[in-house]
């Protein structure tokens, strides 16, 4: 197995494209190394993208943000202005393992590893984040909810990689939140996760919302019906109950050693409601 650490995006793409499907991108490595050890992956070439400047930066851009796909979780958490704008995205990132894991793990890796339970993905989807993708055919973009197809599978073509995430300008009175359920307080894979991003109008009525669920289907879901339950309401108990029901209804989970189907369906609704309450508080606090 070879290891390369290109310094430009073009070099990285050339290496990936030239490897005949036998190359793997190495970002934080917190998933890839485990796959190498357990022989679930045996690439001929590892392409380390951490030396490429545009993948490592966090830039305020046209009122929104462009976050490099190889920015580590800790770097994102420590970016105070980003955390003020998108606390829900940071919530998700905070849950990706221990401080040690967060010191290496990246949102790009968390997305492209394509685990249905990835913690940073629901909040990125709820935020309306758009993945900036580059490959041998050039650049393109895709909403984050379209990047993952199923467990371990992405819609990236051979030689493509996610370069950065673009988050839109934040409207006033907006707030987002992500909650997940795990048996321990830390260190577990999410059994279910819910992200809610909402904006209130001047009268405190929800004018727009996006709701995304994690760990309850083959990939993170965008749930328009759940968002619709909030829009036009003051996010009162009745709206929250409808939100929870819509969230539960959207789940297509499995039974596994982390939870049963019924459990995930029930808890997804509970988390959606609780996340919405936090998002609401944050929205009210944002002038």
């Amino acid at each position: 197995m070879r290891y390369e650490a290109p310094k430009t995006l073009e070099q990285a793409i050339a290496l990936l494209a030239g490897a005949n499907g036998q190359a793997k991108v190495l970002a934080g490595g917190t998933d890839v190394l485990i796959q190498l050890r357990s022989n679930r992956a045996a690439p001929d070439l590892l392409v380390d993208i951490k030396a490429i400047p545009e993948m490592k930066s966090i830039v305020a851009d046209a009122g929104g943000y462009r976050v490099g796909a190889a920015v580590t979780c800790m770097e994102l958490i420590e970016n105070e202005t980003f955390a003020r704008a998108w606390p829900g995205v940071v919530d998700g990132v905070k849950y990706i393992g221990s401080v040690q894991v967060k010191g290496r793990a990246t949102m790009g890796g968390n997305l492209c590893n394509a685990s249905p339970a990835a913690d940073s993905v629901p909040a990125l989807i709820a935020a309306g984040a758009v993945a900036q993708i580059a490959g041998p055919q050039g650049r393109r973009e895709a909403p984050v909810e379209d990047v993952v197809l199923g467990p371990g599978r992405t819609s990236l073509a051979p030689g493509e990689l996610v370069v950065s995430f673009v988050l839109p300008r934040r409207a006033p009175h907006s707030g987002d939140a992500y909650l997940r359920f795990t048996p321990r307080t830390e260190m577990d894979i999410a059994v279910a996760g819910a992200a809610v991003n909402l904006t209130l109008d001047g009268k405190g009525v929800c004018s727009s919302a996006r709701v995304s669920l994690g760990a309850v289907a083959a990939r993170a879901l965008l749930v328009p019906a759940a968002a619709a339950a909030l829009v036009g309401t003051k996010v009162d108990e009745a709206a929250l109950a409808r939100l929870a029901a819509a969230a539960s209804a959207a789940c297509k989970p499995i039974d596994d050693k982390r939870g049963t189907k019924e459990y995930r369906i029930k808890v997804a609704g509970v988390l959606a409601r609780r996340a919405a309450k936090i998002a609401l508080e944050r929205a009210r606090g944002q002038g």
Binding site: F181, P183, R184, T185, E186, K257, V270
Partner: protein, 764 residues
């Protein structure tokens, strides 16, 4: 040589204080050497090939391709190890049969669990060794498997051992069975007792296997010399026992194997028996080079023994005013692939906290297609006590009696006849109950969905074979050579403290060292909460011998009668009324002259320590339950325990806190997940969920000291009792929080939520 030294109350200068432990600096700087930290020049890396099937006949093993791989220097299979006789030996508090030891180490006729070793290689590097494993061709005939204990007990269940007939059943059964043994303890007449009862509670409980969870995987390094001698460095709770097991399975003389114990990164009973050690020696013999074998975490879960999962039935009968008239339990324990679960010990500990006239405990030891179980801190007791203390709590509530009051009404005390044999001597059970009741925790207010639970535990503790040697060096310092492994840092400090106390000198002048097997005679494992008790006793015997020799030496040097010489505060002085005056001599002064006046002054002990004092504890826990998710949060935890005498209180507190934390993990989230194929699905710390720092609150401790009359300082073992009560205490707390009793461990959120929903549905 005595086997017990009676307790003597006296003014203590050192015992009971908190000096820094002698190995502390090495442990905080990374200098201390654990099993995987040892290396020898020219060493090979050894790796094990493990069965991927839960149950299969091994038809053939072809190692030719593996041997031919460049860099592979040796391969071993069942053909390299002799058949072993049907012969029992003790490992900690469990018994093992050597016929099974060799088979667990390397499968012979059958693979009996996912992870069962089938072959092993030694190669020049880790990657070559792994490649070699992939080249070994094993032909398996896959057989139906059984992993549930109740299923395994049914006639017609897949059978692990065709020659296993249930022991303890008369007449001897005609058909073989997965029930290896049935045992029974009891006294009185339970039928009559239940007839007298005005209230009866009868419940069934189920638990899953849990692993000891030591952070250091097993690791060893073996070097076999052409003259037939082997050196072994290994992380172990008992180097003499490992030497004995290796010698037996390798058919070597005991004196030809020298085992050096490395520092041990946790054992809790799981390092009481060999796994890779004899394989490493055999590979070293074949390859003529040292062989190092370190388990991966996955191998630790697939290959080493957890504690059993079990099915437990408990029935209790009481009068309306709270006196227990009859107690009965049936304990069905998974032994894993070979017989030998701790159902015996569990039976002894089930009801012993109570003074009972009518008791019956029946235990079944059942083989199933899982790794062979190993000891885990108070083996078996937490499982039985989960059932018993839950039923006790339910009974107390039914009768409207406070849970501590109920236990006090029925408490065992000095003179109580146990149902498994001995009569109890002085014990501290009642004192722990009273201290718990008086603790602020018991009165603290509780909020919504919060509840408080109480439960108690007992462990008998053991003594066993122990040796030590104490040598006075020429500058007046001493080296205490110990044979008991120091698993937690406290015991080597405690022994040195007791020796220094006896001699009346500073703690720093006694250096405790745990030697290798060549340094001393046989020492039993560090298990059964025995080391501070037994090794402490041996150390005190050795220290008193040294004092006698010092007195005699001074009498000779000063030319006075022996009766005239007293030893006090580190000096030889004229005894009061001894009849002679002389200039006192310090330890250093005597030591300086020792060589010229007769030779080194030393003491030693070789004992089979008797008189271990049983330990009792009472736990209080507060929980909060999230009714919407089934999540249990531990809000507050208090451990009250009688330890006889806390030689070094900080390390005693550490045992209480650590044992309670393991019990909490056991209660909340730890379990083995198996697929329908009998393959373990969570062989790692991601999905085998042990408590992390943010899962636990501070764990308060209250040390009760009712001295053990059979130890010079009153020591009782303390390490095992604290793991016993948490499961029941938490179940009792949950019942008080949300009115729901849990009967299946672990109390993971999906199980709790389902119980909440089922209860709500039943009400509607």
């Amino acid at each position: 040589m005595p086997t017990t030294l009676k307790y003597q109350e006296k003014d203590l200068k050192l015992v009971g204080t908190r000096p820094p432990r002698p190995d502390g600096v090495d442990k905080v700087t990374g200098r201390a050497r654990f099993g995987a930290d040892y290396n020898l020049p020219g060493q090979l890396i050894g790796k094990v090939l493990r069965s991927p099937h839960a149950h299969a006949r091994i038809k053939s093993i072809d190692t030719a391709a593996a041997l031919a791989l460049p860099g592979v220097k040796a391969v071993v299979t069942r053909d390299d190890f002799a058949e072993m006789p049907d012969e029992m030996a003790a490992v900690g508090e469990l018994m093992i049969n050597f016929r099974d030891v060799t088979r667990n180490m390397m499968a012979r006729e059958k693979a009996l669990y996912d992870g069962h070793p089938v072959a092993a290689v030694a190669a020049v590097s880790e990657s070559v060794a792994r490649a070699a494993l992939a080249l070994i061709r094993v032909e398996y005939e896959v057989l139906p498997h059984v992993i549930d204990v109740v299923e395994a007990m049914q006639p017609g269940a897949p059978l692990l051992h065709e020659d296993q007939f249930t022991v303890g059943v008369k007449p001897k059964p005609e058909r073989p069975s997965n029930i290896a043994k049935r045992l029974e303890f009891g006294r009185g007449d339970v039928a009559a007792g239940f007839a007298q009862a005005e209230v009866i509670v009868e419940r069934e409980f189920n638990t899953k296997p849990v692993h000891q969870g030591y952070i250091e995987p097993q690791a060893c390094l073996a070097s076999y010399s052409a003259d037939g001698q082997a050196e072994l460095w290994t992380s172990t709770q008992g180097h003499f026992v490992f030497r004995a097991q290796c010698a037996k399975v390798l058919q070597m003389e005991v004196s030809k194997i020298r085992v050096t114990p490395t520092e041990i990164g946790g054992g809790f009973g799981g390092k009481n028996n060999i796994y890779n050690e004899a394989l490493a020696i055999a590979l070293s013999r074949k390859s003529n080079r040292p062989v190092k074998m370190v388990m991966t975490r996955e191998e630790v879960f697939r290959g080493t023994g957890p504690t059993p999962g079990a099915n437990v039935k408990v029935k209790l009968g009481c009068t309306r005013d709270g006196r227990i008239t009859a107690a009965q339990a049936e304990l069905n324990f998974q032994a894993g692939a070979f017989p030998g679960s701790p159902v015996n010990q569990a039976s002894m500990c089930a009801f012993t906290r109570y003074d009972l006239a009518n008791v019956q405990v029946v235990g079944n030891d059942v083989t199933v297609n899982r790794p062979k179980v190993a000891a885990y801190r108070a083996p078996g007791a937490p499982i039985a006590v989960f059932g018993v203390e839950s039923v006790v709590d339910e009974m107390a509530k039914k009768l409207g009696i406070d849970p501590i009051e109920f236990r006090l009404k029925n408490a065992a005390k000095e003179g109580t006849q146990t149902y498994y044999g001995p009569r109890l001597g002085p014990i501290g059970y009642i004192q722990t109950l009273e201290a718990a009741r008086a603790h602020a925790h018991y009165r603290a207010p509780l909020g919504p969905n919060q509840g408080r639970g109480v439960a108690t535990g007992f462990w008998f503790n053991i003594g066993n074979e122990t040796t030590c040697a104490l040598n006075l060096q020429e500058d007046g310092t001493l080296t205490l050579m110990l044979g008991t492994i120091d698993v937690a840092g406290g015991s080597r400090a405690a022994m040195a403290m007791m020796v220094a106390e006896e001699l009346g000198i500073e703690f720093e002048r006694v250096r405790p060292v745990v030697g290798d097997t060549a340094a001393l005679g046989f020492n039993f494992l560090t298990a059964g909460s025995r080391s501070t008790f037994a090794s402490g006793m041996a150390s005190v015997i050795a220290a008193r011998q040294v004092i006698e020799k010092l007195r005699a030496r001074v009498a000779k040097i000063r030319e006075v009668p022996l009766e005239a010489v007293a030893w006090k505060d580190g000096q030889a002085r004229p005894a009061e009324g001894g009849g002679a005056q002389f200039a006192p001599m310090t330890l250093a002064e005597i030591a300086k002259m020792a060589g010229k006046t007769g030779g080194t002054i030393a003491g030693h002990a070789e004992i089979n320590a008797q008189g271990a004092g049983p330990g009792f504890g009472t736990h209080i826990v507060d929980v909060e339950v999230d009714r919407e998710t089934g999540w249990i949060r531990i809000l507050r935890y208090t451990v009250v325990q009688d330890v006889g005498k806390a030689i070094h209180p900080a390390y005693v507190e550490g045992q209480l806190q650590g044992g309670a934390a393991q019990g909490i993990g056991w209660a909340l989230n730890e379990e083995y997940f198996y697929g329908d194929d009998g393959v373990l699905q969570n062989p790692g710390f991601l999905d085998y969920r042990m408590p992390v720092a943010s899962d636990l609150p501070y764990i308060d401790t209250v040390i009760v000291e009712v001295p053990n009359p059979n130890h010079p300082y009153g020591v009782r073992g303390c390490g095992e009792v604290p793991i016993i009560a948490p499961m029941a205490a938490i179940a009792n707390a949950v019942e008080n929080a949300i009115g729901l009793r849990l009967f299946a461990q672990p109390f993971s959120p999906p199980r709790v939520l389902k119980a909440i929903e089922d209860a709500a549905a039943a009400r509607d």
